[in-house]
């Protein structure tokens, strides 16, 4: 485990002790059984993201069947926030990391691009709680969004060219106004990290 994870591990040790069960991080069904997630339109994607091997930064692809505490924390580490001491390069790295996480959530078939179909699915999921009205408009919105990405990144396409999909660079480009490194964060329990406990947990 890297040092970066050690910082977040300690808060989660607390959390784990509180919930009292190591098998919270078991299979997908365990996570899916959390009642608070029922109202969330992105439920499936979030749960899948925990089991996605790409988010473990070990250059593997595919999905886990079960995850342990390590993997959980690894995914959580994407939601750290920069401090006043974080340098500019570190911020860049953080931002890329977070954008990569989002990208992986969208790019379900792992071909390196978000195709129109995948993007449509994303928007449809977002609007899934809004009934039929949402689904109709979802297509149009996804199309318009795709059009926008294409026109900002590849402004001049001949009529016969085909825009394959959103690559990671284009993805970064369109979301650079959002300042992801500060937006995408969770306020972890504010724990003193002086007593870090590295080492694997036993399950």
């Amino acid at each position: 485990m890297g040092a970066s994870q050690a910082r977040t591990e300690h808060p989660y040790q607390d959390l784990m002790d509180k919930t009292g069960c190591n098998d919270m991080f078991g299979s997908k069904e365990d996570l899916a059984s959390i009642p608070a997630l029922d109202n969330n339109p992105l439920r499936k994607q979030i749960i899948t993201a925990f089991f996605d091997k790409r988010n473990q930064h070990e250059n593997q692809v595919g999905f886990f069947e079960e995850i342990g505490f390590e993997q959980f924390v690894m995914v959580m580490s994407h939601f750290r926030a920069p401090t006043l001491k974080t340098s500019e390069e570190e911020r860049e790295v953080m931002r890329k990391e977070k954008l990569r996480f989002l990208f992986n959530m969208h790019d379900t078939d792992n071909d390196g691009t978000i195709t129109l179909e995948e993007y449509r699915k994303v928007v449809e999921e977002l609007l899934s709680k809004s009934g039929a009205l949402g689904l109709e408009a979802a297509k149009a919105i996804a199309d318009a969004a795709m059009l926008e990405v294409a026109s900002t990144n590849v402004p001049h396409m001949a009529p016969d060219d085909f825009y394959e999909g959103i690559t990671f660079e284009h993805f970064e480009q369109i979301l650079k106004g959002l300042e992801m490194e500060t937006r995408m964060h969770i306020r972890f329990l504010d724990v003193d990290t002086t007593t870090m406990r590295c080492g694997k947990t036993t399950s």
């Binding site: 959530m105 809004s130 109709e136 995408m184």
Partner: protein, 805 residues
């Protein structure tokens, strides 16, 4: 009464001199107008002095008395009765002066870049006040507290509250509250306390300072410590700093009103008595909570009432803006009645009512509200600064070097220490930390303004013998902050390279991902079991969607999710842009790319045999979509227009059908581009025919009567009439695709005469058919009564695009 006689001479002499076109000529013209107004103002001042008017009435009475007894006087053909219209006339003149000043400053380019508007306005006020004084007349008590608090301040605050960016405000609410409450308290006590200490030290020198008790000092401190929203708005508007800093300083200036109100009343009450006990302090804290929360509650109640009322205004669109204004003003007055914080009430009212009202009202009403608010707040602000200048000249002053200089220094010092200290604490809890640069701007942006002056003006002379000294000090501080800080903040912002406001428009991708992130973070928080920020926001949103929106928003819009609403708004904007750029011939300049939908759509269909269908290659999915959308639109009945009278407007074609229409429109435009690229036909530029009012008038008549306009045969045209959401023309375009489907005969679809259905040479067939089912009602019923309606975005002609289908 040769008052206006001499004025007329004045007019005659001065005006012709300044009608030049060049800049010096323009400046001269402006100067003459200025001087003219000065002249009029002080002569009117002359008219309003009591002895003259008294003399006048006596004369009048004598005249009537004489008239009864003696011989009949000649019938007065032309009479002058100034007293009759005096007050409204003077008010109008002041407003006119303010507006002309505003005009003038923007005509002089170099000046408005260096000096902020507020400074110039104060100078003008000084001049006007000076002129009045020179004329020997009594300066009208312009910054009278009632006038200020009841008439001049509310428009500015309402404008700020209605257009408050809710998201950044809520995200930074904790910081803003700490600055507003703790910061102001710190300022008040620091300044008051140290002033008292200074006064005690100065025992030997001046007797005036000696008499200053602790409580009056604290009162003074509380008056002077509050950051003023009017001044902050005026200065910050011109420097365009980033949203975070703007909302921090501005939010602080709004929310510290509650603190100021409580402190002011507390110290004023007890200054007479001379002591403040701990009990009083405790009551003060409770009072603060009541004032703040009570104000917000009053505002929220009126906001909900306004939102509820707007639900039923679909038949009387004309008075929709009025509800917004009246409810807000009543909220302000109600809060002031109970000595609650009127400013917070107004902000709460505007912020609460806005999302619901905007979902209910028409587009025109929205524009009206926006422009009226901007207009009133602009004039109010201008007037306030001018009056500050006038009141400076007028007010009884008592200059005391020590007091004034110590006050100014203490204000600065207190602000800096307060901001730095509080930021240190706040940064422990913030994710986006405030850097030193930010702190500097926040501290430097703490401007004082007219509210402080009015509060000082409110003090009664008998309770507070030092009132004049206070007023002088307040004015000095105001002048210092507005002039020195106001003028130097812009170069300092440049020097320190503070982040400026991002001008980029919100894109649909950003919106999608903002929503996505919201849900994602809420989900993650739920998995952790951590009830954070996002969890509660999500809960509030769900409550809002489930209960509140259903009550307060009329019809279908209550179920519209935010993403879709945003998308429709963007579409509308794009469509408006398209219209203003003169038709779909070229893409709007914002997106200079040649990418269109065809580039994105995966090519699913093999190219059909060119003999059979020379259709542009739309994938089947696309066709299906277009068909579906059109079908759903056609099911809606067409709106009948009311005849024009004062109580109803012409039913706006931009109302209900618009959002669906826009989706359609986008597809048509994409289609058109596609076609344009695929064939080599020219597109005909927009025909310079019908004005939008005529096209709206066309809606009034029945759709059956339409004649084919004799047109050039070489290029078939289809006119897409923007003003009619259910224009059969759009149906006609799509009609070509509906080869086999016979089911779309609902609503007002016009079937094209099923002429030669077997494909001939594509262009001719389609051309002929197109020309038949052309523009509706080209023979317009004449200019309608509503031709003078102002539609800013319907200035151009409807689209004409070329389509061979």
């Amino acid at each position: 009464f040769n008052l206006f006689g001499s004025d007329a001479d004045y007019l005659g002499l001065v005006l012709p001199a300044g009608s030049g076109r060049s800049l010096p000529g323009r400046g001269l013209l402006l100067l003459t107008v200025l001087v003219l107004l000065e002249g009029t103002v002080f002569r009117l001042g002359a008219a309003s002095t009591p002895d003259v008017s008294g003399h006048d009435t006596k004369d009048h009475h004598k005249a009537t008395a004489i008239g009864h007894n003696s011989t009949k006087k000649a019938f007065p053909v032309l009479d002058l009765d100034y007293g009759h219209i005096q007050t409204p006339f003077e008010i109008s003149l002041w407003v006119l002066l303010a507006s002309l000043m505003k005009l003038g400053f923007h005509l002089i380019p170099r000046l408005s870049g260096i000096v902020p508007e507020s400074c110039l306005l104060i100078v003008v006020g000084l001049l006007v006040g000076g002129l009045i004084k020179i004329a020997g007349e009594k300066v009208p008590p312009v910054l009278d507290s009632r006038l200020f608090f009841l008439c001049l301040l509310p428009p500015i605050i309402l404008d700020a509250g209605y257009f408050l960016p809710i998201r950044p405000f809520m995200e930074n609410l904790g910081t803003i509250l700490i600055f507003a409450v703790v910061g102001t308290l710190w300022n008040a006590f620091f300044i008051g306390g140290l002033l008292y200490a200074v006064c005690q030290i100065q025992t030997g020198n001046s007797s005036e300072l000696n008499g200053l008790g602790l409580l009056p000092c604290l009162l003074f401190g509380s008056i002077i410590s509050a950051v003023d929203p009017v001044a902050v708005l005026a200065v910050f508007e011109e420097i365009h700093i980033n949203e975070l800093l703007h909302i921090l300083v501005f939010g602080e200036s709004l929310l510290n009103d509650a603190v100021t109100v409580v402190l002011y009343h507390l110290f004023e009450e007890y200054s007479g008595v001379g002591t403040v006990t701990v009990m009083d302090g405790f009551l003060g804290i409770i009072s603060f909570l009541v004032v703040a929360l009570g104000g917000v509650l009053v505002g929220a109640i009126y906001g909900i009432l306004a939102a509820f009322t707007s639900r039923f205004t679909s038949h009387t669109r004309v008075i929709e803006p009025l509800f917004v204004f009246v409810y807000s003003y009543i909220a302000y007055l109600s809060a002031e009645m109970f000595h609650l914080s009127g400013i917070m009430a107004l902000i709460a009212c505007g912020a609460v009512m806005r999302p619901y009202v905007e979902a209910n009202i028409s587009h025109k009403s929205h524009t009206t509200i926006k422009y009226f608010l901007k207009m009133w707040s602009s004039v109010s602000e201008t007037l306030i600064f001018i009056f500050l200048g006038v009141a400076t000249v007028d007010g009884p002053h008592f200059w005391n070097w020590t007091f004034v200089t110590v006050t100014v220094i203490l204000c600065l010092v207190a602000r800096v220490i307060g901001v730095v200290g509080l930021t240190y604490i706040i940064n422990k809890f913030r994710i986006v930390k405030l850097t030193t640069k930010d702190q500097f701007i926040i501290a430097y942006g703490g401007l004082r303004g007219a509210i402080a002056f009015s509060l000082g003006f409110l003090l009664k002379e008998d309770h507070f013998p030092e009132r004049n000294m206070f007023l002088t000090a307040i004015i000095t501080v105001i002048f210092f902050t507005v002039f020195v800080q106001g003028m130097t903040i812009k170069p300092l912002v440049e020097l320190l390279a503070v982040k400026k406001k991002q001008e980029a428009k919100r894109s649909i991708n950003e919106e999608i991902h903002t929503q996505f992130l919201d849900h994602l973070l809420t989900g993650i928080e739920d998995i952790c079991g951590h009830y954070g920020h996002h969890h509660w926001k999500d809960k509030l949103n769900r409550f809002n969607k489930k209960y509140v929106k259903k009550c307060l928003i009329a019809g279908e819009r209550s179920k519209e999710p935010q993403l879709i609403a945003f998308y429709h708004k963007m579409e509308m904007k794009q469509a408006i842009q398209l219209v203003e750029s003169g038709g779909g011939v070229k893409m709007p300049s914002a997106m200079p790319s040649t990418v269109s939908m065809q580039n994105i759509q995966p090519k699913k269909l093999p190219p059909p045999k060119t003999v059979e269908r020379a259709l542009p290659q739309l994938p089947k999915g696309r066709e299906e979509e277009i068909r579906k959308i059109l079908r759903s639109n056609l099911q809606r009945t067409r709106q009948r227009l009311h005849s024009y009278n004062r109580h109803t407007l012409v039913a706006d074609p931009y109302e209900d059908g618009f959002d669906k229409f826009i989706l359609k429109k986008q597809k048509i435009i994409e289609l058109e581009n596609k076609i344009k690229e695929m064939n080599n036909y020219l597109t005909v530029p927009a025909a310079p025919t019908d004005s939008p009012t005529m096209s709206r008038a066309r809606l009034a008549s029945d759709p059956q009567a339409f004649s084919v306009k004799p047109d050039s045969d070489s290029v078939p045209i289809i006119q897409v009439d923007l003003a009619s959401p259910q224009s059969p023309d759009t149906v006609n375009v799509m009609d070509e695709f509906r080869r086999a489907d016979q089911e779309e005969n609902q609503g007002l679809m016009m079937r094209c005469p099923r002429g030669p259905s077997e494909p001939k040479k594509s262009e001719d067939t389609e051309g002929a058919r197109d020309q038949q089912k052309l523009m509706r009602c080209l023979s317009d019923p004449g200019p309608s009564a509503d031709e003078d309606e102002d539609e800013p975005f319907l200035k151009k002609e409807p689209l004409v695009c070329c389509c061979h289908c």
